[in-house]
């Protein structure tokens, strides 16, 4: 009898660790070990299959002398910035509007959230047709009588990347909206009422009280959307297939084609490491500041 208590205590202590151990192991091997392996490959002369020699930073030099990689980096920057800004902004706006206790909120929420249920392949293919000047928007408007209307961004190398932004924003805004809506519902109504009694206008209340209180929701949205932006691969392949003339190349599509199509595994690994460093440079400080503050707050 007297020994059973420490035993159950011990089980209680060990159970969480036991349960977490397999997933921790999987993460260690599948994520961190392979990051190290990719780093190693990026310093080797690997072409069709991995080769474990050492050529210094040659593959990085080769990578940065490839104009297509410059396009990819530039596109990632343009795409992520616009995608994050538009999706967050529109998502927040829609969430605030939906939060005004309107009648068909449930239906509207479902409609806005529905694109998220589609895969990026479907979104990409659909928008490929919508944006095609001979099939989609331009043709419809032309047929309606406005014959001089031109909307052929998808055929213009300088504008094609914005087409990708449009499709991605269309797909992800509902998702951002859902998270913001949940955040809004979590805000105590009495705070808003108190501000109203003080005579604050509704826009002012939202700007100075509600939006700052949504900080945890912003954290989730930004982290999840950045991750969608950086791994945006299927959308590009379905929508533009990196065309026209590699104008919508992204680091992820570059890495895939270098590794699997062009037998340049070393260059592919180098580009993967560059992506990792870019992500780390942006996300780590942000996460650090956000998580540190919340810990201080406790």
């Amino acid at each position: 009898m007297s020994r059973s208590t420490p035993l159950s205590n011990r089980i209680e202590n060990w159970l969480p660790r036991l349960v977490l151990a397999p997933s921790l192991l999987v993460v260690l091997v599948a994520v961190y070990l392979f990051i190290c392996w990719t780093g190693w490959i990026s310093l080797s002369s690997s072409m069709i299959v991995p080769k474990y020699d050492f050529v210094g930073l040659n593959q990085y030099v080769r990578l940065w002398s490839t104009p297509r990689w410059h396009t990819a980096v530039f596109n990632l920057f343009v795409f992520s910035t616009l995608f994050l800004a538009l999706t967050t902004g529109l998502g927040l706006l829609m969430a605030i509007l939906l939060d005004q206790k309107i009648r068909v909120e449930g239906t509207l929420r479902a409609i806005f959230l529905y694109p998220m249920a589609l895969s990026f392949i479907v979104t990409g293919t659909a928008w490929k047709w919508i944006l095609n000047p001979a099939l989609g928007v331009q043709k419809v408007v032309n047929d309606l009588g406005w014959t001089s209307f031109v909307f052929d961004w998808i055929a213009q190398p300088t504008f094609a990347i914005y087409c990708v932004v449009i499709a991605a924003v269309w797909q992800s805004t509902g998702f951002a909206m859902a998270i913001f809506l949940a955040g809004l519902r979590g805000i105590d109504n009495s705070v808003i009422k108190a501000a109203q009694i003080e005579g604050a206008s509704l826009p002012l209340i939202y700007r100075t009280i509600v939006v700052p209180m949504l900080r945890p929701a912003f954290l989730s949205v930004i982290v999840l959307l950045s991750y969608i932006a950086i791994k945006s691969f299927d959308l590009i392949l379905a929508l533009t297939n990196t065309g026209p003339g590699s104008a919508t190349e992204m680091p992820s599509t570059f890495m895939y084609s270098a590794t699997f199509r062009r037998d340049q595994m070393g260059v592919g690994a180098a580009s993967a490491m560059m992506m990792l460093m870019t992500v780390a440079a942006i996300i780590v400080p942000y996460l650090y500041s956000e998580l540190k503050e919340s810990r201080d707050g406790q």
Binding site: P67, P157, G243, P244, G245, A247, F260, R261, D263
Partner: protein, 417 residues
Amino acid sequence: MTKFKRILLAAALGLPFAGQAMAQTKIEGLHVWTSASEVGALKVITDKLKTMGFEWQDSAVGGANGANAQQALRTRVAAGNPPAVMQFLGFEGLGWAKEGVLRSLNDLYAKNGWKDALPPVMLQFLQQDDTFFSTPINMHRQNWVWANKAVFDKAGIAIPTSWDELIASAEKLKAIGVTPIAMSDESWQIEELFESMLIDVNGPDFYKKAAIDLDETALSSPEMIKTFELLGKVRGLHDAGFTGRDWAAATNLVANGQAGMQIMGDWAKGEFLAKGMKPGADFLCFPTPTATPNYKFVFDTFGGFKIKNADIEKGQDAVAEAIMDPEVQKKFNLIKGSIPARLDVPMDDFDDCAKRSFSDRVAAIKNNAIYGSLTDGFAVEPRFSGVFQDVVGKFFVTDMSAEDAVKSLVDGINNAR
């Protein structure tokens, strides 16, 4: 009694083993063929294999121009579980042969005299250091023009004999309200056009220097600039809806008369035939116009991975023998749209386009004017042909000058060396 029982037992135990020995050994083949004509053509090989006592276990991985299959293969070789037989295009097989993972077929080649039955220019893709590792089933020709005969007649166009004439006829097609050239903004489809111009305008010897030997003087020469300028003339000769168009969709534009012609390999022929159109009567096939006739090829081969299992090795030999069987090559290519890899297959049952391809091949072999297609991976390794693709694709869709294009081509090739 006990003895009888024991015999019964032995029989009962032995039978399944006997049955297993009788059952056909399964030979797994990884390939990229998924369209109706491709699957139908493959069945010719697998049916033959069945009569030889082996069952084909099909692993088709389609999509992404074969990149998906390459990815699947890499994973499986890395895991030590390669397929018995793999389809190879261009340099893919050579890459694996250099890694030393492919089985030698030298005995079969020597025994059956296959080497002499094949176009000599093919051999460099079938062997590595004098070891044959794969067998070819077909040969596609890359440099074809596919045209709608009714549209050509309406515009009063004859078959062009030079690229300048072809571009002039395209202007005529534009004048009667037809899309002159059916194409896509996909870089590889533009490159099909570019590489035809490269060899047609500058001759086969220049093509070899520039696109196969990657000679820097040839790559940066005025001839190269001239070729890009010629490609630039095609910029306005397509329709606005060419973004992301599939090659087969472009072929269909020609087939139903919305466009005049398409420059594409003879895998396009199947699209016309599927609509019941007849070569010569409904659609025209002619080589891209040139003063120096040439032949640019693409072909499919199958090679076997080293697997320590005598039955599978026998099966791999059977696959090679089935592929090299003249009757199989004939039936296969009647469905696939290409011509037999073997030079000794009678062509009587084939259509006019295939007959033309066959006789042009014989002439090109004699004149040293037969070379691998750049776009489809038979000229240089993928890391180099990718550079051509990048530059040509970008040049076509932007207002890049021919000089800049040549400069970035040379820089890109040097960077990939």
